[in-house]
């Protein structure tokens, strides 16, 4: 455990932060600009994972396991969420035969 921690600490913390921010931003951009809901879901997953990465890095730097425990929770929840999301998409596909996000605009004003 210690070794892993120290190995992780070899790389400066900023790099982890920058990386996860970059990942997070890429995911965000994906969510913002993609029209296919499946792709959006994947981008969301990317955002979750960037958070996981960040938490793990911090956890290592602080030598505190809580962060990594949290990562597990996040993974579980994210999985559940994706499951629900996918099923909603399936339902949508059944209803309108499309997974284009811009079709979802009947509820407005």
């Amino acid at each position: 455990m210690k070794d892993i921690s120290s190995a992780i600490q070899l790389i400066p913390l900023e790099n982890y932060v920058f990386l996860s921010v970059a990942l997070f931003s890429i995911g965000m951009m994906g969510v913002l600009f993609r029209r296919n809901t499946i792709a959006i879901l994947m981008c969301l997953e990317l955002m979750f994972n960037s958070v996981n990465l960040l938490l793990t890095a911090f956890s290592a730097y602080h030598s505190d396991p809580a962060g990594q425990v949290f990562v597990f929770f996040i993974m579980i929840v994210a999985a559940a969420e994706v499951a629900v999301g996918l099923s909603i998409i399936v339902m949508m596909k059944r209803n309108v035969d499309s997974v284009d996000i811009n079709l979802l605009n009947r509820l407005k004003w």
Binding site: V31, I101, N105, R106, W109
Partner: protein, 631 residues
């Protein structure tokens, strides 16, 4: 005796009030002449009571008796009892009001006979008498004001008595509103009096008046405000135009209200306040100017009027002007004297005119009359007596009263005398013009069948003519060996200004010259309207611009309409359509509409588009990040 006075004083106004209640409440039950008889009887009772009061007061040896009925308003310093003041002035007025009033009531039984609303008529007449009595009997300015407004209201009712006619209703409203303009001044004057003296009771105010400096701005302001009230009520320039229009009412109304009593209320009030006015020379001068101007102006208009009642109306305005002149000269008791004689002869003239109109079947245009002398002898002779009286021919009553005023004018300033005399001459001319046109020559309206009026109408005429002839003897000046009876009698209530007496010779000279002029004028009128039998032109005929102006009453009504009535209407419309609707309400609604519009926009923000929501969210987050990092 004082106890007697205190006991019965309230009966004087109570009788007509009772009459009002009976005839008013039972108006659907009373038949034929019942209402008229009840009303006349009660006013006569009132008169009898007033006579008893008169003698009681003389024998009591007191100048005045205050009778308090109950406390009307009592708030802080403002204590206003419902009280009557019985003194020489008020008793004089009471006698005139009830006496002349009773005669006119009796006359009305005949005149109004057959009118479907005769019961209402008598109810209103009684209410008027009641108010007028309150006015003259009130022991303080506020009780006076009750009567003051009350008579105005009754006048409104009676002018618009024949309410089918919109013009009559308009005249009635005009009278009331113009009176109200005066009343506002009056009430403000009363309020100022109250703040100055902490009382509005006559006795207390006059007792303290001496403490004020003569000519102080405050007292001038107060007297001017009171004057505004009097100007409205007594139809002086500039508030006189309602009076000629008020002739829309039945003729007895014109006789009682618009000649004998109500319009003289202003004179009474100022005479009552003589002590205050003596302290305000500026106001007195204003009154001289107003009175003289009104006297002449109205007389000039009277020259070319062809409606018998209009002529008399302008004549009333003119005579009231004389009274104002007398007031302005500080000769208050002379004004009251003229008021008294005027009450007699002007009531007589109106009643005579009523008799004529009655006989002519409602025709009021003197151009269509003529030759009535033989058909209506009683009316003719009584009318003649009144005409002589108003023209100031000795020894008729008008001579004494008018001469007194003229003399006072001369004492003040000969120019005033000349002007006043000029007015008197014009009066003489139009009165004789009227007389000649109506009674002389041939009958010009073939359709009418004039006849003498019934006795119930002629007897009051005769009584009034006796009063008109001999009324002057109430106050024979020392010059003719009299004792100025009325003047002396009123002396306890009115403090006239002391002026330098004219020498007896000057006075006689003046009288003779004026009489000569009067004679000339009568001759001139005779030549014009009897000898040459000139009938005034039809309305449509073209006239010289000046006589056209006179015929149209100098366009004063039109000017008032253009100056006040129309702009008021415009203002009303402007306020309502432009200010109220387009600014104030629009502002309120505008806030609502604007919010609602914004609401519409805010709704559109919720576009339903997922991408937009996501962008908005990210945008919001970014903005907040920037915000917290900068701040």
């Amino acid at each position: 005796m004082v106890a007697l006075i205190s006991t019965i004083a309230w009966l004087v106004p109570a009788f007509p009030l009772l009459g009002f209640l009976i005839t008013g409440l039972a108006k659907n039950r009373l038949k034929n002449n019942q209402a008229g008889i009840i009303a006349s009887t009660l006013v006569s009772f009132s008169f009898i009571t007033a006579v008893i009061l008169f003698f009681s007061l003389r024998s009591s040896g007191q100048d005045s008796v205050t009778v308090t009925l109950f406390n009307w308003i009592s708030a802080g310093d403002l204590k206003i009892p419902f009280a009557f003041l019985i003194d020489h002035l008020s008793i004089t007025m009471m006698l005139i009001v009830t006496g002349v009033g009773a005669l006119i009531h009796i006359y009305s039984i005949g005149y109004m006979h057959g009118d479907e609303r005769v019961n209402s008529f008598f109810a209103q007449m009684n209410l008027f008498t009641f108010s007028m009595l309150l006015l003259v009997m009130g022991a303080n300015y506020l009780i006076l004001f009750i009567g003051w407004e009350g008579v105005g209201f009754c006048s409104y009712l009676l002018i618009g008595f024949w309410f089918k006619n919109p013009a009559f209703n308009y005249a009635a409203r005009k009278a009331f509103v113009m009176n109200r303009i005066g009343d506002l001044g009056f009430i403000l004057g009363i309020i100022l009096l109250f703040f100055t003296f902490k009382s509005v009771s006559f006795t207390e105010v006059f007792a303290q008046a001496g403490t004020l400096q003569a000519g102080a701005p405050l007292i001038t302001l107060i007297t001017i405000l009171l004057l505004v009230g009097a100007v409205g009520k007594s139809a002086q320039i500039p508030l006189y135009t309602w009076l000629p229009d008020a002739m829309a009412g039945p003729t007895p109304v014109s006789a009682l209200i618009h000649a004998a009593t109500m319009v003289t209320a202003g004179i009474y009030m100022i005479a009552r306040s003589s002590i205050l006015y003596n302290l305000a020379p500026i106001t007195l001068n204003i009154m001289i100017g107003l009175g003289l101007a009104t006297a002449i102006f109205a007389a000039v208009i009277g020259l070319r009027q062809n409606d018998i009642k209009k002529v008399l109306a302008y004549s009333t305005v003119s005579q009231l002007g004389y009274m104002f002149l007398a007031l302005g000269l500080g000769a208050y008791s002379s004004a009251v004297f003229h008021l008294t004689t005027h009450a007699f002869f002007k009531a007589l003239l109106f009643l005579g005119a009523g008799s004529i109109i009655h006989a002519m079947g409602g025709e009021q245009d003197i151009r269509k009359m003529g030759g009535l002398r033989k058909k209506m002898p009683v009316t003719y002779f009584t009318f003649l007596a009144a005409t002589l009286a108003i023209s100031g021919i000795p020894p008729f009553s008008g001579f004494f009263s008018k001469d007194l005023i003229l003399t006072k004018a001369f004492e003040n300033n000969p120019v005033l005398y000349v002007l006043a005399l000029g007015g008197a001459l014009i009066t003489c001319f139009y009165m004789f013009r009227l007389l000649y046109l109506v009674f002389f020559g041939d009958q010009r309206l073939s359709s009418a069948h004039p006849h003498e009026s019934p006795r119930v109408m002629t007897i009051p005429l005769i009584i009034l003519s006796i009063l008109s002839v001999f009324g002057g003897f109430l106050n024979i000046p020392e010059l003719f060996g009299g004792k100025s009876g009325l003047g002396e009698f009123l002396h306890s209530a009115i403090i006239s200004k002391v002026t330098e007496e004219l020498a007896g010779s000057t006075e006689i000279g003046l009288i003779i010259s004026s009489l000569a002029l009067l004679g000339l004028i009568i001759l001139l009128a005779y030549r014009t309207y009897v000898k040459k039998a000139i009938i005034p032109a039809e309305d449509s005929k073209s006239l010289s611009s000046f006589s056209k102006a006179i015929t149209n009453k100098f366009y004063i009504d039109e000017i008032y309409t253009a100056l006040f009535e129309r702009p008021f209407g415009f203002l009303s419309d402007f306020f309502f359509y432009n200010v109220e609707n387009k600014v104030l309400d629009a502002a309120v609604d505008g806030i609502g509409t604007a919010t609602s519009r914004l609401g519409g926009l805010a709704r559109k923000l919720q576009a339903g588009n997922m991408s937009f929501y996501l962008f908005a969210m990210v945008g919001g987050i970014l903005l907040f990040i920037i915000f917290i990092l900068i701040v």
